[in-house]
Structures are given as C-alpha cells and as structure tokens.
Symmetry: C2
C-alpha cells in the first residue's frame, strides 16, 4: 500500500506543532492570484467547474433510486443543472456495512495516510472548488478560494492532528507482570485496539459548505468510522467534489469507496432525519440552524452529537483612540460575505451617552454615523465591494432584509440596497441594513438574523452594553464577541463577563478582518453557549469517535 502516512508526515507534524503553539500557519495557498499560480491552473479550475454544469455528477454509489439537484447560482440566477445521487437510506447503510470491518482493522497510520492524501488532492482542486462555492454559497471568488479552500482544508488537517494525538495516546501493546500471593508472577501480553463507534453523518451548511465538513470528515474517518456527507440542497457541488476525491483515494488503496458517501436531497424532501435516526449511525456532526441543531442535541440519546449553529455575535464599543479605524473594523464584519458568516457580528452595543474617543465623549449619533460611513467606505469601489460582500446565497436572505426594514420603520440608520457587479449583473446582492435599537427592541436582536442586518444598540451605559451582550450570548449563543476599549479595567471586566457566559472574546481588533477564525490557533466555538455544543477542534472533538478494546494473553 502506498505509504501516504510517511509521505505526508511532515505536514502532519507541522500541524501538530501549530496546534501546540497556536501560531499562524496554513498548509495551502490562500491567494488565487495568477502571480502565485500562473495562468493555467486558475483557467483549468474554471473549465473543470464549467464542464460539470448541466450534467449528472456521478459518484457511483449503491442504492441510487433517484437523482436530485436544485442549485441556483446567486451570481447568475440560473440553475446549475447538476443532478446528484440520492441513495435510498437502507440500501446505502447496507452497502456501507460491507467495508466497515476492513477500515476498522486498518492501522491508525493507514487511515491517517488516506485522510492526509484526501486533503492533498482536495488542495489540488481549489480553483474548481472556488467556482463551485461561488455559484452555490454565493461567496466571492477570493473568499471561496481562501475561506472555503485553504482555511477549510487547514481545519481538516487540524482535526487530523488531534485525531493523531488521541489515537497515539493508546499504545498497541504492553507487557504486564506481577505476583499475587504465593502463586509466582503472572505475565500478561496485552494488546489494545481502537474501535470506531459507527456510521458518522455530517450535515453541511449552505454558506460555508466545507468549513466544518473537513474537520468532521477527517475526525471520523481517521478514527475508523464510515462517513455519510449530507450537503445542503443549495450547496451540494463543493461537497460532492470532496466525496469524489475521498472515494477515489479509498478505492485506489483497496478500501471500499462506500466508506465515504454523499446523500443529496431537496428542500421539499430532506434526508437528514432518516440518516441520523438510523440505528447504525453513532456520530452526528451538524452545522446549520439553531432549531435543528438543538433538536439533534436533545433527541439523539446514545449518539455522539457535535453541533455548530449560530448566535447573535456582539460588539461592545466602550472607548477607542481611533473611531474611524474601529468603525472600519466593525463595518468590514457587517459587509464581509454579506454577514452570512458564523463569525459575522450583528449586535453593536453603544453607550447611549456616547463613546469615549481619545478621552473625549463622542455622541451616539456621531458614532452611529461613523459606522455607517465606514460601511459606505468599504463599498465605494465596486470591485472591492464584490470581493468583500459576495452575494446572498438564497432568496430567503433578501426576504430577511425586507422584513427587518419594515420592522425598523424610521430607525433605519443605513438602508440596504443592491450592489452592482459588472461581471454578474444578475447577482443577488444587498448592502448592509443598519438599524438603531434600544433595549426595548430586544425581541428583534436576541436571535440570529441571517444576512446583512445589524443593530446599533444604545444601552444606558458601557456596563449595560456588556450586561446585554453577555446575557444574549448566554441565552441566544455567540461564536464571536468583540470589545473595543482603551480602559484596562473595562477590558478585564468584559473578558470575565464573556467568559462567564461561555463565550470567547476578541479585544481591540483593527486592521484585519475581525471575522477571521484561524485554524490551529483559535478554538472555534466554545460548546458552552447555545451556538454549538462542541469545539472544532480540540481533543474532545475526536476522543469520543473511537473506543478501546483490549485482549490479554497469559505468557506461557
């Protein structure tokens, strides 16, 4: 068998080191620039994407009774015309069972080698994946290349680093010797075997289809579990491309390709519940709505459930030395990927009496204006706006904006409007809708409003800002939280307050996209508030995906 483990060992070792010291590192290129890649590769990737349009995407899976596909490009408004396999659950689980034993019996190194090779090959189709992601999730080309490429692959590698650590913690053999009373020494040879839990179902989301898929896939597969990928009907292609790579790699080294399968479905006939409820399913990874995530957390006893859902991410702006820079940092989060990221901020808490700027109190209205102007600043250049905002992945996001515009009435600080992209005149776009709010609007902002809708919330004081923001994190979830302050004691209190409700917090981030979550460095999702029950990734993300059985033999 090809020794992929040895071949990719340096990459794995680097990832393990990065996880231990948590510095900035990426195993893949983040820029799609032709300066880095030349002209040929980007063009070939685009051509590969275009060649898939209008065709059936065959994975050669068993039990395929139906083909489905309802993806529509948010850039062109046109259906992709691709159909995917919708295998019948019973036939699928039956077929999966056939290959389970061999995969379970493979050594951790063999399985790690296969997973590392899968990531490598996915890394070779980043250009095609970028186009596939653009025209399903609606991301901009740059975001689709980096965020859904390198950054997502890094998260898969990060999960592999943890899986390797957890599996390596169990030795393969031991020699054990002791005496009991006068019977002489008993000498035992012991063997320890890692045993996978069962079928692992990975439910992917629409807007970042691979971001949590790589870590879940890698964590489960490396520890011996077959994986069923269940993509969102709006963003199936990027997942199908990964499934195809997995199946090819598995087959190439003589494992059953059905160890990784994909079940496409439609909005009208969702397949997820049948998959997670199947008795063979032991592990569920879910990224998506808080409603379904919470249902899975509550209703799958005996199964290992990992969720990342959503929260109402907050900013508390108490004071700053540079209001323009702070406004720019916040505004970028309101724009980036049209605020469809799990790390996008939604609720910006401001003291009603204004914000201290370089020692002087700047009135609320002026701060509100600064943030809205900063949004306009990001959007001034249409090319930059297109790269920053991308599109709205689904018409429901447009509807959200319309609904909140109506609810906001005369409290709109900055209205949403379509953005115009020269290359894609039909793109579904919207600039940020910014709404003025007070604590009496709690029912509006105490939930995730998906898309570019945000609230500048005037609380009675900086302390009230913090109290409101942290109560919302506790009750409604938070994946990211930001504090801007030049007051050390306020910062300290803010960090403690966010931590007390199980939320991580970033302080005074400027001059970088504040939505950025760094693989190997940021522990993404705490698992301590309603935005998810797990961290992707840490040791806990992998240790329960396998168990240990042992055999002991008396030495004769």
């Amino acid at each position: 068998m090809t020794d992929w483990f040895s071949q990719h060992r340096p990459l794995l070792d680097k990832a393990i080191d990065a996880c231990a010291r948590r510095y900035s590192w990426s195993g893949w290129p983040e820029s799609p620039s032709t300066k880095v890649h030349g002209e040929e590769k980007p063009a070939a990737g685009r051509a590969a994407f275009e060649a898939m349009l209008g065709n059936d995407f065959s994975l050669g899976q068993p039990g395929v009774s139906d083909w489905v596909g309802e993806e529509v490009s948010p850039y062109t408004g046109k259906p992709l015309g691709i159909r995917y396999e919708a295998p019948a659950p019973e036939a699928l689980f039956g077929a999966i069972a056939a290959g389970r034993k061999d995969w379970a019996a493979a050594s951790p190194q063999q399985r790690m080698g296969v997973c590392l090779e899968i990531l490598q090959r996915c890394g070779e189709q980043l250009f095609a994946n970028a186009h596939a992601t653009m025209h399903t999730s609606g991301q901009s080309y740059v975001m689709a290349f980096a965020g859904s490429g390198a950054n997502a692959l890094d998260r898969g590698l990060e999960a592999l680093a943890y899986a390797h650590k957890a599996m390596s913690d169990v030795p393969e053999t031991a020699s054990w010797e002791r005496s009991f009373g006068g019977d002489g020494a008993a000498c035992l040879d012991k063997r320890y075997r890692l045993v996978p839990r069962g079928v692992s179902v990975v439910i992917c989301c629409a807007t970042f289809p691979l971001w949590n898929t790589y870590p879940a896939l890698c964590a489960s597969l490396a520890t011996g579990n077959p994986v069923i990928l269940k993509p969102h009907p709006a963003a199936t292609l990027p997942v199908a491309m990964v499934a195809k790579v997995c199946r090819a790699v598995l087959e190439e080294v003589g494992f059953d390709p059905n160890l990784v399968t994909m079940v496409a479905d439609t909005r009208a006939a969702p397949a997820a519940l049948a998959l997670v409820e199947h008795p063979d399913t032991a592990i569920i990874d879910f990224t998506g709505s808080p409603r379904f995530g919470s249902y899975l957390e509550q209703n799958c006893p005996g199964k290992q459930v990992y969720t990342e859902t959503a929260g109402c991410n907050s900013v508390v702006l108490e004071s700053t030395d540079d209001l323009a820079a702070t406004a720019r940092a916040i505004a970028q989060s309101l724009c980036q990927a049209s605020a469809q990221m799990c790390t996008s901020v939604q609720n910006i808490h401001l003291p009603a009496a204004g914000v201290k700027v370089a020692g002087e109190r700047v009135p609320l209205a002026q701060v509100q204006a600064a943030i809205c102007e900063a949004v306009d600043g990001w959007l001034a250049d249409p090319r930059r706006a297109a790269t920053l905002c991308g599109t709205l992945f689904d018409p429901s996001v447009t509807d959200n904006i319309a609904r909140y515009r109506e609810l906001a009435g005369d409290r709109i600080l900055r209205d949403s409007a379509p953005l115009h992209y020269a290359e894609f005149p039909e793109a579904r776009t919207a600039s940020p809708l910014v709404i003025a709010a007070t604590e009496s609007d709690r029912e509006l902002y105490r939930q995730e409003v998906f898309g570019p809708v945000s609230f500048l919330i005037a609380n009675s004081s900086a302390e009230a800002c913090l109290a409101d923001a942290t109560a919302n994190a506790r009750d409604c979830g938070a994946i990211t939280s930001h504090v801007y302050s030049v007051d050390e004691s306020f910062i300290e209190a803010a960090v403690e307050a966010y931590h007390a409700v199980g939320a991580s917090v970033a302080v005074n981030l400027h001059g970088m996209p504040i939505n950025f979550a760094a693989a190997y460095s940021d522990f993404h999702v705490t698992g301590l508030n309603p935005a998810g029950n797990a961290c992707l990734a840490d040791l806990a993300f992998v240790t329960s995906r396998f168990r240990i059985v042992q055999s002991k033999f008396m030495r004769s």
Copy 2:
C-alpha cells in the same frame, strides 16, 4: 498556597508513565499485613472505624434538613447506627454555586495539587476504610484493604493522569501574527482558559463504593467542576470518609469545601434523580444497575453521562492443557467477593461434546465436576474461604440465590450453602450456586444475576459457545470475557468475535485472580456494549469535562 502539585509531581509523573506503557504498578500498599505496616496503624484504623459507629457523621454541609442512615453490617447483621447529612437539593446547589468561580479560576496545577493531596490523605485512612467497606459492602478485610483501597486510589490517580494530559494539551497563551492584504501585520496575543462544564454528580454503587468514585471525582474536580457524591444507602460510610477528606483539603487551602458534597439518601426516598435533573448538573457518573444506567443514558440530553452498569460476563472453555488449573481459575472468579464484582464471570460456555484436555476430549459431565470441585477446593479452608468470598452485601442477594435454586430444579450442579466464619458467626454468606444450562435456558442467563450464581452452559460446539457468549455480550453487556483454548486459530477467532461486539477478552488466564482489573494497564469497560457507555479511564473520560474559552488582544 501549599504547593501540593510540585510535592506530588513525582507520583503523577509515574502514573502518566504507567498509563503510557501500561505496566503493573501501584501507588499504594495492597497488603494490610502487620509485617508491612506494624501493629499500630491497623489497630488505629479499626479503632477509628469503631468510633464512628452509632454516631452522626458530620460533614458540616449547608441546607441539611434531615439526617439518614440505614447501613447494616453483612458481617454482624447489626445496624451501624451512623446517620449522614441529607441536604435539600435546592439549598445544596445554591451553596455549591458560591465556590464555583474560584475553583474554575484556579490553575489546573492548583486543582491537580488538591486532588493529589486528597488521594494521599485517603491513602492514610486505608485501614479505617477497609473496616468501613467490610461492614457496608460486605467485602473481606483483604479485599476491602486492597480492592477498595490501593486499587481504587490507583484508578483515581489514573484519571488524574488523563486529566493532566488533556488539560496540558491546551497552552495558556500564544502569539499570532500574519498580514492580510496590504494592511501590514496583525499581531495578536491570545489566552486560552479551561472552563468547567458544571456540577458533577457521582452516583456510587454498593459493592465497590470507591472503585469508580475516585476516578469520577478526580476527573471532574481536577477539571474544575464541583462534585456531589451520592452514595448507595447500603454503603455510605466509605464515601462519607472520602467526602470529609475532600472538604478538609479544600478548606485548608482556602477553597470552598462545598466544592465536594455528599447527599445521603434511603432506599425509600432516593435522591439521585433530583440531583441529576437539576439544571446546574452538567456531568453524571453512574455505577449501578443497567436499568437506571440506561435510563440516564437515554434521558439526560445535553448532559455528559458516563455509566458502568453490568453484563453477563462469560468464559468460553474450548480446550486446555491443564483442566484442574483452568477449573481453579474459573472457580476463583465464582467465589471471589461472592461474585458481586463487575468482573465476576457468570456464564461458562462448554461444548456439549466435552472439552479437549491435552489433546483428549473430556466429557461435559467431567468438566462440570472439575469446576464444582475447584469451587469446593477454594472453600475447603474456612479462613481462606472468608477472605475470598466475604459476605453478601444485601439480603436481596440471598433472595437471588433462592430464586435461581428454585428455577434450576434438578439442574443444580453445585448447591449454595452458608459459609461459616469463626469471627463473624452472623455473617450473611453463600457459597456458589452452579447450574447446568443449555441454550434453551437463555432467558435465565442472558442477564446479570447479582451474586454467586453461575451457569455451565452446554452449547452444541465450541463455535456455538463463542456465538452464544458474544451475542450475549452484544445484547446484554460484558465487562470481562475469558477464553481458554490451546488452539491458536480458535483463540484468534474468539478475540475477533468478542472485539466485534465491543468486548475486551482475556485468554488463558491461570494462576491469578482472573477478576483482577489493573489500573494504568487495563482499559476498564469499553463503552461499546450495554455494560457501560464509557471507559474508566481514557482520554475520552476527561476531555469533555471542560471546554476552552479564549481571549485575543491586538498588540498595540
């Protein structure tokens, strides 16, 4: 603060090494012999135990509305007359909340130090604990000293070794630097903080009250969670003695003693459900009946549940070179602690055509007789019988024997009878009841029969023995499984068959107590069959008892 972490570091390091290489080691003495300890310590321990009889056992806990106690010595038949605190849940949880923050804020090293000191001090009361365990759980003095002393403490230390590994995997700080586009480098200082999950409820069993209590207590407390101990009404004293040590150690270094509490209850008014259902409870460790264990596994969504219940542990005897030795090994398991151990075997599967012994087939009846004679051999010397068998912890065990004697009718191969202990003429005892069975008696042996009741099951072939035993492990659970065979291919098939149903297996154990589970070496319970959902201990036993929150600060 006393630097217990540094002081006990060598012990911890030794435990970590033992877990990694899994050799035989114990951190505490296993023999109660006066040759090791002198005359004074054993006598002082006995005196300490006797001084507690007939008195209220005060832990000084808050919210104590009631005192309860219904322990009766299985050796004397007399009530111990000790009453324990039964705090009202609401008052208790309220009091616990007060100390949580400080404990969570303590460094992992501080918490590890406290836990190590707790184990050390419990190690200083092993003689008193031995008497307390004898007169509640009914164990013999030797078993109560070793199995409920050193061996149990080792399991606590083992859990601490894993907790230390898991917590050490998360660095405290990191420096992160990268550039985004043309904005220059963003430099972040990051801090990672371990956050406990919540209150940890540990439900202890009657027959080995500390065996799983130390690991659960240590794993939860070291990772920052307050612990409520809920002992069995029949065996409260050993747990109360541990709780007292914990509270004293915590208080001594300025932590709230209510970080470890104990809730005594009665059979008529059990307290467990109210404790596990309280919203502050995040972690549940349970040792006890499959019925309640399974209830907790199914009905505590969102809470971390670790269970060890019971199964029907099996022996498959295919062939042996020394029938007498094999019979002696099996018979010892039927006698030891009156088969009230989680590792006691119950179902001995024999090929109906007989067992190959040194190449010759010995008829079934002769094998049955050899096992029964071996039981008699172990019991011939009354002193040895007392040390080996101890007593029946509860009258229900006597009832079990009576019930199965009636069900067995004329299939009794060896009848149960009282054992006579010179020192304790009133002791509740019973020698093993051994019943001949075939597969038509499946409803009898496909469940745990608690106490010294076993079945010599004649299956149609060695392969049928294995098929029956492994199906029972899969459906009804197994904590230990044994195979005796001199046929390498049968051994290999047996190991695979047991592993396939999530059961560990021991092969050809002779000349040692086959019930013995070695801390640091045996992964106790696989978590893959109905006998429990967790391993005590491995990394998975600790990693989900805490989460990680982070803060990041832009470097100015």
